[in-house]
Symmetry: C2
Subunit: 109 residues, 2 copies
Amino acid sequence: MVDTKLCPKFESAFEILGKRWTGLIIKALLSGCHRFGDMSEMIPQMSDRMLVERLKELESAGIVKRTVYPETPVRIEYKLTDKGKDLGKVMDQVQEWADKWVEPPKKEK
Amino acid sequence: MVDTKLCPKFESAFEILGKRWTGLIIKALLSGCHRFGDMSEMIPQMSDRMLVERLKELESAGIVKRTVYPETPVRIEYKLTDKGKDLGKVMDQVQEWADKWVEPPKKEK
DNA sequence: ATACTTACTTACAAAATGTAAGAAGATGAC
DNA sequence: GTCATCTTCTTACATTTTGTAAGTAAGTAT
């Protein structure tokens, strides 16, 4: 064993990233999704309830900014802050790893 | 909105990384921890029960290899496979992001 | 026989997530 | 006016995951 403890900042980062859906939501935002409905469509396995909850968490973590446009019907935009955009590098590495190591799911047949 | 779906491989990667403790366990393994007790010590907030469960998942995902040394008392080593070691780059990016953006927790005065 | 070590198991409670229905606020159709 | 529509949530309740703490197994050593 080398160290006796992990870096607290690293741990803190994974309190966010290590929650279900968070990574996918950030990826969706990086891909240009900005609206609730867009994200909900892009990640259909996730329920709206979870999306609401995660977006609130990401907002209070300073990763996402929520803006209301009082049009009709109301439009609400979720955008990554600088802090959030900086997660792009993390996501790129995840994508690279996934491309190299994840074999496509062989569910059917 | 740009795309209509996320990359399935990316999603698959986050089925693992997006679980509580997984990131910290991989980081511990990258830091030179190899034994159950070491990891349990390095991540004291996590219970043994969870460590067992996550290690099994990581093993069946091909990220960790478990080896038994029938000494006394028994020694069991957990090591990252090549697939697992390749997550080092992801973890490095997380660390970089955390160093830049995570402010140290201001719990107690 | 008892104790000691490591690596788990098990049972049960608590918390997170899934599911599905509903609600609010502004509008337009009838 | 009343009904329906759209989007973004909210609520209630079931299911699943995680937390907590005690216990087990195998191999020594005392």
